[in-house]
């Protein structure tokens, strides 16, 4: 081959390798090495005993978390058999609690180890949700669905509007095909005169206004399939595998289709919450959201990454990424706190100098 042709082909075959992909593969390497480190030295009888114990635990878990029938708890009514409750407090199997305030009426639609779905029919309920990344927790109230990781928030479903207020952590409110992130101190009010008390299997209304106060920009391009994503028993397709979704995200990133990349990554996290690729996907999502100029969403993604794998190889990068994203979003105080948290954990970390500058700004 002629030298100039070799040069052209060499340039054309540069690997699609960037910092995000580098981080993601590193996370996989670290994860596999950690798993591998547990293997040597285990004798066969010991392995058999461990497997037996694991099987027994699994059986107990299956028995405990087998799908419960739907039940209802009212503020002044009797507790339901599917949950341990007193008159004003509903305790769920994962330890989360719903505190029934004024005129509250809620029902447990689904309660398994991987998913908790509640329906709030009326009144005000304060939810204290235990952090558990592998469990999807959602509350449907009127035409909106509140998706939760671990947080404390209150939902007030009144005659003419729905109000969601977050005390701690973060929630994602989905309404009419759009989503909005709320963090501690933020609240959202949605008019609900047209969509009150939707049955659980009905499609949410599409014309309500998201009249939000938070600085986080609304995810106007949120996928229409999001509701379907959380529906139980959605068919699994080949292109829904974590690897396929990551590839789709990578292709989209290469083509600067950031919204598509974000959608693929969010789908991966939602559909495969226990997969080992989730921390990497969340980290990538943080970078994608940064590229889109959605700094608050980027910060959320980085925080979720760090929370999902607090001892993973991406934890320090994600924590510093969150601090920087908060700063870019204009949330100076939150950024300062995040930088301080980073320095507390990694005083000599590779981002320490940058975090120190951010904290002391």
């Amino acid at each position: 081959m002629k030298p100039d042709e070799v040069t052209r082909i060499r340039r054309a075959t540069e690997p699609p390798w960037d910092e995000v992909r580098e981080q993601r593969v590193l996370a996989r390497v670290t994860s596999q090495r950690e798993r591998g480190a547990l293997r040597p030295g285990r004798s066969t009888p010991r392995r058999a005993a461990v497997m037996g114990l694991a099987l027994a635990t699994l059986l107990v878990a299956v028995v405990m978390f087998v799908r419960r029938p739907a039940g209802r708890v009212e503020a002044n009514g009797p507790p339901d058999a599917s949950a341990v409750a007193n008159v004003h407090r509903l305790t769920l199997h994962d330890g989360s609690e719903a505190i029934l305030l004024q005129d509250a009426d809620i029902a447990v639609e689904e309660q398994t180890s991987s998913r908790v779905r509640l329906i709030q029919q009326s009144g005000a309920v304060r939810y204290e949700v235990k952090p558990e990344p592998s469990r999807a927790f959602s509350v449907r109230a009127g035409s909106a669905i509140v998706h939760v990781r671990g947080t404390i928030f209150t939902v007030r479903l009144l005659a003419d509007n729905l109000e969601v207020s977050v005390e701690r952590g973060r929630v994602e409110v989905e309404e009419g095909g759009r989503t909005l992130d709320l963090i501690a101190g933020e609240s959202l009010r949605i008019p609900t005169e047209h969509a009150r008390l939707l049955p659980s299997n009905a499609a949410p209304g599409s014309d309500a206004n998201l009249d939000a106060m938070p600085t986080a920009p609304p995810a106007a391009s949120a996928p229409a399939s999001r509701t379907a994503d959380v529906a139980a028993g959605a068919p699994k397709r080949d292109d829904d595998t974590p690897a396929a979704l990551l590839r789709a995200a990578d292709r989209a990133r290469e083509d600067n289709r950031h919204a598509d990349a974000a959608t693929a990554l969010e789908t991966l996290v939602r559909r495969h919450p226990r997969d080992g690729s989730v921390p990497g996907a969340l980290f990538t999502l943080g970078r994608v959201e940064t590229a889109r100029g959605r700094h608050a969403s980027a910060a959320h993604a980085f925080e979720r990454c760090a929370a999902t794998a607090p001892n993973g190889p991406l934890a320090d990068d994600a924590t510093s990424g969150a601090a920087l994203a908060w700063a870019s979003a204009g949330r100076t105080e939150t950024a300062r706190i995040a930088a301080g948290a980073y320095l507390e954990r990694w005083p000599n970390g590779i981002h320490a100098a940058q975090m120190r500058a951010l904290r002391d700004r």
Partner: protein, 185 residues
């Protein structure tokens, strides 16, 4: 007397031999730095040999897990790059063999070629990878590493674990096949 501005930099960036020694001693940060320093290079080797990024993450993961497990046996800690490439090539061979088997079993005819945005360039690259696909991995690999990857022949010999003479012969054999194939297109 002013301080030498190079000194802090030299101290701040440990060389490969130091990182290898620290990583062997269990220092995770050292292993991470080694990974970050060489991952792009190894990814280039893997990508050019495979011709697609479908398996790139998997092969990279396998390569660096193998490397982590065998780091203590590295003979030249100051030169981990050819050693990493050698591990990667072994992993790529396994993938290519699997790809050949599935093509034989399923009769698939798809040729995987790197994604190129320029249509004219893409045609040429696809043609090249169609030719490479017909070559045995042991012939294809030295040519890709030397001609496309720009590696020296002694380095290619070390990566492929064959003699310099064998590498020269295989590169020449592949070059003939590539040139003939490209002339026909």
């Amino acid at each position: 007397m002013s301080a030498n501005p190079q000194t802090p930099l030299a101290l701040a960036v440990p060389d490969d031999a130091t990182l290898v020694a620290q990583a062997v001693a269990g220092n995770e940060r050292a292993f991470t730095l080694l990974y970050r320093r060489h991952a792009r290079y190894v990814a280039g080797v893997v990508y050019r040999l495979l011709g697609s990024d479908a398996d790139l993450d998997d092969v990279m993961q396998e390569t660096f897990c193998d490397a982590a497990a065998a780091l203590g046996s590295l003979r030249e800690p100051s030169r981990p790059r050819p050693w990493l490439a050698r591990i990667a090539v072994h992993r790529v061979y396994a993938r290519l063999a699997r790809r050949r088997r599935s093509r034989w079993l399923l009769g698939a005819t798809t040729v995987l070629a790197p994604k190129v945005s320029d249509p004219a360039e893409r045609e040429r690259v696809v043609a090249l990878y169609e030719i490479l696909e017909r070559l045995a991995p042991k012939v294809r690999t030295p040519w890709v590493l030397h001609v496309i990857g720009g590696e020296s022949l002694p380095d290619v010999a070390a990566v492929c674990e064959v003699s310099l003479a064998t590498v020269k012969r295989r590169v020449a054999e592949a070059e003939q096949a590539v040139q003939r194939g490209l002339d026909e297109t």
